[in-house]
Structure formats: structure tokens, C-alpha cells
Amino acid sequence: MTALVPAPYRVAASREETDDTQTLELVPVEGERIPYEPGQFTMIYGFGAGEVPISISGDPGVAGTLVHTVRAVGPTTEMLCSLSVGDEVGIRGPYGRGWPGPERDRDDLVLVAGGLGLAPLRPAIYRALAERERFQRLVLLYGGREPDQLLFRDELEEWADGEEIECEVIVDAAHPGWRGRVGVVPSLIERLDLDPERTTALVCGPEVMMRYAAAALLELGIAPRRLHLSMERNMRCAVGHCGHCQWGSSFICRDGPVLDWATVGPRIGVREL
């Protein structure tokens, strides 16, 4: 059962994203870093603290390091956020089904992120930028609570200044120094002028935000099969055995975390699930 045996990784760098969120660059203590697809996650074991599922947030095209962005919300993630360079963790995975590629070449790709949801989407952005010729338009819409709660701010600026990706950022509230938008992500979607017939949308963020974002994308005419969301449930084993993350007939760890709206839509509003 090698899928359940953690491999030791060492912290090569830890960068503060916000007051409670760190990005960890990990390198394997032995051998090569695991290959992965954008949208997949690993189980990170903080020795003596516990194990949690964390999305991979790095560039799949960059060899050597495995990057995760972790928010401290409990004992294990607090421990992971406090790690220093040289400390070790256990990694198993990668697990789950990640973001799909474009259905056809030269399609448009819209990525909609909220809060920490930019982390699992970042590998898809790197991949899309590396294969830029496969897309017509690349659009990133990102919403956060306040400007200082946004992830990857340097990259957001770089993307916004460049011409490869259209990047719009919106926050719930801000002080007057903020020159960007204030409002909610669906309001950005409503303003999109795109051809729904050739658009694929990837959405990741708090579930409430995803529901409203999905509604706005469907309103634009994007087909349910081209609308993909990264779902979160209580994952433990990550291989579809324990059942903690069962959601309807799906195990989020194995069948997700990325699911299309045709699967998510009928379930997301069911309170009992």
C-alpha cells in the first residue's frame, strides 16, 4: 500500500502570503518530486500533529519542488504554517482528478477563484500560460475579503500588467488606497463578453461563492459539462476507502476534487449531503 506511506520532504522555503497563510516549497529528501496534474492534492503529515489534504499550488512544469499553500485553521495546519526551512514533513499522493484541459484547441479558458481557491487554480494558470497557444482568451477573475488577504500578490500584478492573461481582482471591502474593484466575483462574470460555446470555466473557492459564480457562468450560457468546480469535503484516506468524503455517489478524494457542474449541480443545494 505505497499510496498510504508518506515520503519525507524537507521545507526549502516558507513564504507568508497573509497573516494566516503560508506557501511551503518542499523538496524530497530522496529521489525526484512526485509528478502531478493541476488541481490534484496531497496528504501532508505534520509529524506529531496530524495529516491534512492540501492542494498543490506550484508550477507543474518546474521540476524539483512541490509547492503547497496552507491556511492555519487548526492544530495540524498551524503546525505546518510554523515550519522553518530544513524541517521535514511526510507527503503522500498526489491524489484525485485535477482540472481538465481545453475541450478543443483555441477555446477560451475562464478561471474563477475566491480566497484560498486561487491556490489550487495556480497550477492550471501556469500550465495554460505554458501552453498559451492552445487558448484564445485566458481570463482570471479573483475575489478576496480585503486587499491584504489576497494570495500571490506579486504574480497577480505581473499577470494584470502582461498581455497573456486578462486578470481582474475584486475584494469585499477596501481602504481608499486600493485602486481595484470592490464587490463580488459574480459581478465580474456578468460583465464578461465571451462566446459560451467555446468557453471552459474552472472555479475554486468557498462553496457559497462557487454556487453564485456557477449561476452567473451558466447564465452566460456555459454548458454544465464545461463548468468545473473543485469541491472540498472531509478527506482522510485520500484513496476512496474510508468514506469520510463521500458526497452522493462520489468520493471527493478519488472522483474529485474537480467535478463538473453536471455532477455538482444536482447535489450542491441538497442540505442532507
Binding site: 499550488s57 480566497g115 491556490a119 475579503r145 471591502a173 473557492g205 473543485s230
Partner: protein, 164 residues
């Protein structure tokens, strides 16, 4: 130079008015320009004017105890700024400030209210359109009240699933 009545088609809430209504509304509007930091609307003052943004950004602000205002919404090209002109007691509830150079159509609220009184079909039409606008902004306000990004659990894998 384009007439105000033509420009109304670029303002979402005023698009598709009957030509006669469009001319009546346009008759209450004039072009105006604001510079970065200028206030379009001040909290507590009589709401005599509302604005339709042709180009630029306006920030809706509320004063906080710290003295630094909080921006609670930004409005952009095609958006309307202000509806207090339409409802009693016709007083503005928030400050609205230009962020960068801002070009707008400024409408005389009393002028338009008078036309709505004289022509109830126009009044009904405008009331319906502004009610829809208010509903949309109420929905976005409710969404923000949920503070979805501040929740310790929920969102991407890694937001704390399995780490209560």
C-alpha cells in the same frame, strides 16, 4: 459630439427606453467630469443628483471610527451612482468619490421626479428599473455579509478540511 439621449444606451439601467422616454430622461442630464478624489455625493446631504458613469471608477465609501473611510463598493462604466434622489427623504446615505478621472452624465433628480409625476408610465418604468438595480445590489450585499472568505473552513482543498 454625441447627444445625452444616445449615451443613455451605454447605461445598463437606462438601456432600451422608448424614444420618447429616453428624450425625457436625457433632458434632465448633463455631462460632467470629476478628478481623482473629488466627491460626487456626500453622506447626509440632499440627494439632488444621480450619475451614470461613462468612463472611470467611483468608490462608494462609509466613514469609520478610525477616521479612514472604508470602500464598500466600486462602480464602473455603465453603472448608475445613487438612487436616494428617487425615494424620500432624498438624502444621500454614503459618500461617493472619483477614483481617477471620471466622466459621467449628471441627472437632476428633482427634474426627473417631476417628469415621473407628470407621466406615470415613465415613473412606473423608471421605478421598475431602479428596483431591479436595488435588488441586484441587495443580493451582492447579502453575499458579502456571509463573509465567505473569512470562514475558517470551506473553499479549496487546504482551507482546513480535516483540521478542525
Amino acid at each position: 459630439m454625441r447627444e445625452i439621449s444616445e449615451l443613455l444606451e451605454e447605461i445598463e439601467v437606462l438601456q432600451g427606453l422608448e424614444p420618447v422616454d429616453r428624450d425625457l430622461v436625457a433632458g434632465c442630464g448633463v455631462n460632467a467630469v470629476f478628478s481623482d478624489g473629488d466627491y460626487l455625493i456626500r453622506e447626509g446631504e440632499p440627494a439632488t443628483t444621480f450619475f451614470a458613469i461613462r468612463h472611470g471608477t467611483a468608490a462608494v465609501e462609509i466613514a469609520t471610527r478610525s477616521g479612514s473611510p472604508l470602500v464598500i463598493e466600486t462602480l464602473h462604466e455603465g453603472d448608475v451612482v445613487g438612487w436616494s434622489w428617487l425615494f424620500e427623504p432624498h438624502r444621500s446615505r454614503f459618500d461617493v468619490r472619483a477614483v481617477g478621472d471620471l466622466r459621467v452624465i449628471a441627472f437632476d433628480g428633482a427634474c426627473l421626479r417631476g417628469k415621473c409625476e407628470a407621466d406615470h408610465d415613465l415613473g412606473f418604468e423608471l421605478m421598475g428599473r431602479f428596483a431591479r438595480l436595488i435588488c441586484e445590489r441587495l443580493q451582492t450585499t447579502r453575499l458579502r455579509l456571509l463573509d465567505v472568505y473569512g470562514s475558517p473552513v470551506g473553499g479549496a482543498v487546504g482551507a482546513g478540511s480535516g483540521d478542525p
